[in-house]
């Protein structure tokens, strides 16, 4: 994996330009999820607002524990309030407020208009049911078709996700297929009722690296062909570089930066985004780059640090970062303007970030110089010249 050119996940081509902005399909507004546990309140998702337009691919990127999975499930309604779970904010899908629906009403939308793909295809298929039955189940539930028609559709779906011998596959059980083939089956299940929105939660993380690229390309191809919107959740920035229109970076349950994919890669403003980029092999450039590890761990979501949640791990952290949490702000027109009140649908090129010392700004250069000089950040994390060579 040292040779960037051979990395099958690396983006081969320049980032595609976003398609003409459609209407907002999904609007998450101030989504908050807290789990009350014996040890305290886990603030899994804090005040996340996002928009996803028709036909758009939005990538949600973050480390494990950043709240991206919980956010996805909350968007769908799979995580709901009650029994120690506290939820807030609204999720509007195609004009309907999902958070106001009953579970019966939600289940009419699930599978039909919003579909989900999970991380591990080894566990996301029922081991004792035939592949065919697992696909037709969804079709029979949401469409008025006969069993024979549903089976025909299942075979077509399997063919469209690139499985050979679909007529035989529908009679097989999950354990008879490889991981990559199983993930193709779960994609077929997700697409069985032509959903308008596909939520893919780390769809390739559990797969072999070579298979990962195939599955991602398949998803990108299907998304474009069917005109679906897709929320692609991943921890791997390489995965989304050529396959998303916008990226939202999550950290400690919050959005810390969001921008069109090309803008984000060209001009990351949040040090965490920059760190994520340095933690994976670059697409172009020298073959043997030393990858940078992000020091420390994701924050404890029960007792998150005061101030900026990334400050304990940030090489540029200053005193202000430790005490005062930066709001989500617009990068344009001026980087240090007021907290953002704009929404991405109003401005598709919107670039928002959450940092007092945005990467590349004069304040950032000063902060960097100060930390290098004293050999540590304001939080006490050791800082060397090498670490901040960007």
């Amino acid at each position: 994996m040292t040779a960037a050119a051979e990395d099958p996940l690396a983006a081969p081509a320049p980032v595609e330009t976003p398609t003409a902005p459609g209407e907002p399909l999904l609007v998450a507004d101030g989504v908050t999820v807290r789990f009350h546990t014996r040890n305290g309140v886990v603030r899994a998702v804090e005040d996340v607002s996002l928009e996803l337009r028709e036909g758009e691919v939005l990538a949600v990127v973050g480390e494990s524990g950043s709240g991206k999975t919980v956010f996805t499930r909350r968007v769908m309604g799979l995580v709901s309030g009650g029994r120690g779970t506290e939820v807030g904010g609204t999720v509007t899908f195609g004009g309907t407020d999902l958070t106001a629906l009953s579970s019966t009403e939600l289940s009419r939308i699930w599978g039909a208009e919003i579909a989900l793909i999970l991380q591990d295809p080894m566990t996301s298929l029922n081991p004792v049911k035939r592949i065919g039955a697992q696909i037709t189940e969804s079709i029979l539930l949401h469409r008025r078709v006969s069993k024979a028609e549903a089976t025909k559709r299942a075979i077509e779906l399997l063919r469209s996700v690139g499985l050979s011998e679909p007529e035989r596959r529908i009679r097989q059980y999950p354990h008879e297929l490889s991981g990559g083939m199983r993930q193709r089956v779960t994609i077929a299940i997700a697409l069985s009722c032509d959903p308008r929105l596909l939520l893919a939660d780390e769809p390739t993380t559990a797969l072999d690296v070579t298979v990962q690229a195939q599955i991602l390309d398949l998803l990108a191809d299907l998304q474009a062909r069917l005109g679906m919107s897709m929320l692609l959740v991943t921890h791997d920035l390489r995965v989304v570089r050529s396959r998303s229109h916008r990226i939202a970076v999550m950290y400690a349950g919050r959005i810390v930066e969001t921008a069109p994919t090309s803008t984000l890669f060209a001009n990351p403003l949040m040090p965490y985004t920059e760190a994520l980029m340095n933690a994976v092999p670059p697409v172009a450039g020298p073959n043997h780059v030393r990858l940078q590890v992000i020091p420390g761990r994701p924050p404890n979501l029960i007792r998150p640090p005061a101030g900026c949640k990334f400050s304990p791990r940030c090489p540029y952290a200053q005193d202000r970062c430790l005490t005062e949490e930066p709001p989500l702000r617009d990068a344009e027109p001026s980087p240090l303007s007021e907290p953002s009140r704009r929404s991405p649908s109003a401005a598709p090129e919107l670039h928002q970030y959450r940092c007092w010392f945005p990467v590349g700004s004069p304040a950032w250069a000063e902060a960097k110089a100060r930390n290098v000089e004293r050999g540590s950040s304001a939080a006490g994390t050791p800082v060397t010249e090498e670490m901040v060579l960007t």
Binding site: M76, L78, T104, S107, R108, I109, W110, G111, A112, I114, A115, L116, L118, Q119, D120, M122, T123, S124, L125, N126, P127, V128, K129, E137, S138, L141, H142, S164, E165, R168, Y173, P174, H175, E176, L177, S178, M181, T186, I189
Partner: protein, 350 residues
């Protein structure tokens, strides 16, 4: 003494092998051959088990203090009479010879006759087996019919009222000795408070179906309570862990309603240990249930065996043990075959 753990119950399902590549072609025809080979292996196994069980019981009964000839001849018999009985019953011959002799009889369908009554063993068994079989099967079915819905709902809403209530009641039922429970039931339904059911006795189904059902209700309930409690507990916890699985989340995200998820997706993968246990229990119950049979005066296998031991009635005892062993092994074989139906992952490994 016998390997009663079905292949599927030995822990985690076998790791799925690499899938055949697209060009590998169908491989179905092997399945029936696999099953046939499995049944053959199991039957060979059964033979060994039967030899071991019957020989051991021969030895153990012989080692029991007390002389069968004395018991059979009666307390006041003279030594000559005892000797005559001993010769008639051929008890003077060495153990191994008697065993081989008995075995030869079994192979020709002759299980001998009772030492005491002279009744052919086959006939005695023929009277008792249907009774024990009916009791065992009805009690098992009752336990499952009651436990499964309670377990499924308790797993769906753990910690709620139904879960807590049935758990408490179940513990109480399981903790109560069978004879106490039986007596409570008799007092409640066949005596003290009401007498809607007969307290004791057994009527054959072919004689009077209604009376038969009435006569087995109390014994079956007595047998069933502790098992239903255990089944509920077992299935509930297996179900709860199945409900954590990703494929359940997938099923939810398809828009399936809770009832379909529980019954169509979660129940079958959760039922393997329940099936194993109920197979073991069924085998055990068929062998007779002395306490319940005695309490309700039911002429089952359990009583027959106990009496045979007290009477040193070797022939009856041997015949009954032979049947119990066969029943036990056959039932567990059937359970294993059931696994092949329920869990496709096991099929390739048999």
């Amino acid at each position: 003494m016998t390997d009663t753990m079905p292949v599927g119950a030995t822990g985690a399902p076998p790791a799925p092998p690499a899938a055949p590549t697209g060009a590998a072609g169908p491989r179905r025809p092997g399945r029936h051959r696999h099953t046939a080979r499995y049944v053959r292996a199991r039957l060979t196994h059964l033979l060994l088990v039967l030899l071991a069980v019957t020989f051991l019981s021969f030895v153990v009964v012989d080692l029991l203090p007390g002389d069968a000839a004395v018991v059979v001849a009666g307390e006041n018999a003279t030594p000559e009479q005892v000797q005559a009985v001993r010769e008639t019953l051929q008890l003077d011959r060495p153990l191994l010879i008697r065993y081989v002799d008995w075995l030869g009889g079994v192979l020709t369908g002759d299980l001998g006759s009772s030492f005491r009554t002279g009744q052919p063993v086959l006939e005695a068994l023929g009277e008792r087996i249907p009774v024990s079989l009916q009791l065992a099967v009805v009690a098992q079915l009752l336990a499952l019919v009651i436990a499964v819905p309670l377990a499924v709902y308790s797993a769906y809403r753990p910690g709620r009222l139904l879960d807590r209530t049935t758990m408490t009641l179940g513990f109480a039922g399981a903790a109560m000795p069978q004879f106490v429970l039986g007596m409570v039931l008799i007092v409640a339904f066949a005596g003290g408070f009401s007498s809607i059911l007969p307290a004791t006795g057994y009527t054959s189904f072919f004689e009077d179906p209604l009376a038969n059902l009435r006569s087995i209700i109390l014994p079956c309930v007595t047998l069933m309570v502790a098992e239903a409690a255990v089944y509920r507990q077992l299935l509930r916890s297996d179900m709860i862990s199945t409900l954590q699985e990703d494929f359940i989340l997938m099923a939810r995200s398809k828009g399936l309603r809770p009832r379909a998820i529980l019954l169509r997706h979660a129940l079958r993968p959760s039922s393997f240990s329940l099936i194993t246990l109920s197979g073991v229990n069924l085998g055990r119950l068929i062998g007779g249930t002395v306490i319940v049979e005695t309490l309700f005066a039911i002429p089952g296998l359990g009583q027959l065996i106990v009496q045979a031991v007290f009477n040193r009635d070797y022939m009856i005892l041997q015949g009954a043990l032979l049947f119990v062993a066969v029943a036990y092994v056959v039932i567990n074989m059937l359970i294993d075959l059931l696994y092949l139906v329920l869990d496709p992952r096991v099929r390739r490994d048999v």
